[in-house]
């Protein structure tokens, strides 16, 4: 098996070409820096060839530690004997920004005796505007083949494959190296001679930017788009969520009565259908959110949103590029943490990591729904315009976002660290229609990942809780079960919040996944399927004599505490540090606990 490397500047269309050549579903987005890992895929039409997609970079002269690592990996891979050559992708409509990198790649390939093909992408855009570029002349000057293609339409791909099949091995030219400064001047000269000129290519973009970056219209559009995004999470996903719920309910009605053994029946009913059902309900929400965020990224709008948010986020030590990861964190912290790779400044990326777990993720939603339904009266104010429960939900969501910004603002002002900072320079990609197939594939993959990764943890917890709560007395008395005994041991820890052992156990188990809180509490009160139908559980909580101050304290606790083992695991992997998630866990849980204690104590005093 030989390897072929695919390199290019950020936003040159590499991921789309990679998908086209391999048939895989590497994420495509119209936002610089979306390829953040080396992706590999077997080429569809070229036998025994593996295509290796490298992160986009503007040059082989790194300005941050991350870029240095990416450059080192590229140069090390190029040394390997099984590397056949390099496909260097350039966006022909904006040739000037790719030429310096292209010249560096050609130089390094020559030194190592590797073939290089320059692929002039987005030829379809040039054709649309009737603009021609002298690719033969450029090829002569670069001393490398320049092949016209369109990753979007597939035009020119067959010619590239033919050229690859016909290629003969190149031999090293050790003396061909030119210093970077000379290459920069040469790139500038070639850009002046060959890059397409004319306002046609940027006219539409400028017109749309005049609207989307306008102080008033751009701000209004931003809030409108964010409103639609939240609508998509909470309203548009609802029918699909209901369908999943109904489907699982019908399946349970069919299967559970047919099981003869009572222990097995209880297990299937309570642990499998109730436990797993609680979290499968969220899959449509993850799908819809990924789809909407993907559409915004693919269209080029996300770069504009980053510009609009930059100034306010900078006040809190962040950057406009932190916006997308934080927004993704509203669905789930895990994709948010992955998305933080596109924050090029290591210092600001660290701060973004700190903010993401405080964003009100969808796993908090069932917890908030339960607590608000139990403790906040279902009444309206201002002549029916504002519902108190809706207002409470908004305040709880806002609390998480505000907490994220306060934490980063404080840390950025008080901490001198070893992390380097980079200035805000963001390429504004052209506006495009989304590439629907890779987008839908990505939504599917993200939903699948949610089920397989989070699902295994939630399943394990659910089974463990069920076993602990069921034995040794076969579900007859929860208080006398192993779980009940454990709860009574830890009860003093939760007494300052006005909570008894049942809530203590539910909080402890929710460390593995927040939404487990609802299911565990349901089991504590002896209610099956509390996740699907919260009404009996809400009534039980209301009649159990728990004070409103405890409910508000619990809401605060869940808004702040980092109660998600999957988030901690991903954070450790991404930050390449286990001390960061550990410190964050201790800090956020401590703040959440102390704040909740203060809320309950003050609430109790105020309530007499």
């Amino acid at each position: 098996m030989t390897q072929l490397m695919l390199v290019g500047s950020p936003n040159s269309g590499k991921s789309l070409l990679f998908n086209r050549l391999t048939g895989l579903a590497q994420k495509v987005a119209n936002f610089p820096g979306i390829t953040v890992d080396v992706a590999r895929g077997r080429m569809k039409s070229l036998a025994d060839t593996m295509l290796v997609d490298f992160p986009g970079t503007y040059s082989l002269q790194p300005i941050s530690g991350e870029e240095a690592v990416a450059t080192e990996i590229f140069l090390d891979t190029l040394e390997k004997d099984d590397v056949h050559g390099v496909l260097c992708l350039v966006d022909i409509t904006r040739l000037e920004k790719s030429l310096y990198f292209t010249l560096q790649v050609i130089r390094e390939c020559r030194r190592r005796g590797k073939s290089v093909w320059v692929l002039a992408n987005m030829m379809d855009v040039l054709a649309q505007h009737g603009i021609e570029v002298d690719l033969e002349g450029l090829s002569r000057e670069l001393e490398a083949p320049v092949l016209p293609i369109s990753g979007r339409t597939g035009e020119g791909i067959d010619a590239v494959l033919s050229a690859l099949r016909a290629a003969t091995p190149a031999s090293p030219q050790p003396d061909s190296g030119q210093p970077d400064a000379l290459l920069r001047s040469e790139a500038h000269r070639l850009a002046g001679k060959y890059a397409p000129r004319g306002d046609l290519l940027v006219k539409t973009q400028n017109r749309l930017d005049a609207f989307f970056l306008h102080t008033a219209f751009g701000g209004a559009a931003f809030f409108g788009i964010m409103f639609l995004l939240f609508q998509s999470i909470f309203t548009w996903a609802a029918p699909a969520m209901d369908a999943v719920e109904t489907g699982l309910g019908s399946l349970a009605d069919l299967i559970v009565p047919a099981i003869g053994n009572s222990v097995a029946r209880d297990f299937v009913s309570d642990a499998l259908f109730s436990g797993l059902g609680a979290f499968l309900v969220f899959v449509p929400q993850i799908f819809v959110l990924t789809l909407v965020i993907g559409m915004l990224e693919d269209s080029g709008y996300m770069a504009r949103a980053a510009v609009i948010c930059h100034k306010p986020l900078r006040f809190f030590g962040l950057t406009g590029k932190s916006f997308i990861p934080m927004l993704s964190g509203v669905a789930c912290a895990i994709p948010g943490i992955y998305a933080a790779r596109s924050v090029d400044s290591p210092k600001k990326r660290l701060l973004t990591y700190m903010a993401i777990p405080l964003m009100p993720c969808s796993a908090r939603l069932p917890v908030y729904t339960l607590l608000i339904a139990a403790f906040i009266p279902d009444t309206t104010a201002l002549g029916g315009l504002v519902g108190l429960q809706g207002l409470a939900m908004f305040c709880t969501y806002f609390l998480g976002m505000l907490a994220g910004l306060v934490v980063t603002g404080l840390v950025s002002r008080t901490r001198e660290d070893r992390y380097t900072d980079l200035p805000f320079v963001l390429e504004m990609p052209p506006y495009r229609l989304p590439s629907w197939i890779p987008l839908l594939r990505n939504c599917w993959n993200r939903s699948k990942q949610f089920v397989t990764k989070a699902g295994s943890i939630i399943f394990t917890v659910t089974v463990a809780i069920w076993v602990l709560g069921y034995f040794p007395n076969y579900g007859a008395d929860l208080g006398a079960s192993w779980l009940g005994r454990f709860g009574q041991v830890i009860e003093p820890l939760f007494a300052p919040l006005g909570l008894d052992w049942r809530y203590g156990v539910a909080i402890m188990t929710s460390f593995l996944a927040r939404e487990v809180f609802v299911g565990t509490l349901g089991a504590m009160f002896g209610i099956e399927g509390a996740e699907e139908n919260m009404v009996p559980l809400v009534e039980q909580i209301q009649t159990s004599g728990l004070e409103t101050a405890s409910g508000v304290a619990l809401l605060f606790f869940f808004a702040i505490a980092l109660m998600c083992v999957s988030t901690l695991a991903v954070l450790g992997r991404e930050a390449r540090s286990w001390t960061l998630p550990l410190k964050m866990f201790i800090a956020y849980v401590s703040i959440a606990y102390l704040g909740a204690v203060a809320i309950y104590q003050l609430g109790s005093i105020a309530g007499g």
Partner: protein, 83 residues
Amino acid sequence: MSKPLWTLAAREQGRIAGFDDALPENYRVRLMELGFHPGETVTCLQRPALGAPRAYRVANSTFSLDDEVARHIQVTSLEAITP
């Protein structure tokens, strides 16, 4: 007479004269890689209020730069372009 890129009015064009010493060398190199070469024409496309990053066009690419960068790029003013 040169002035910082940040001070260009909307739709005003300038020719890049150079970079301040305050701008670290690696940033200067990166800006040149992106097309901000001395001698290159740059146009301020968008100048939102409240100090938000501004959009600048060099050749066929548009970049958003905040004041921490654009204050350190020196330009000589050219004529304004028609909208």
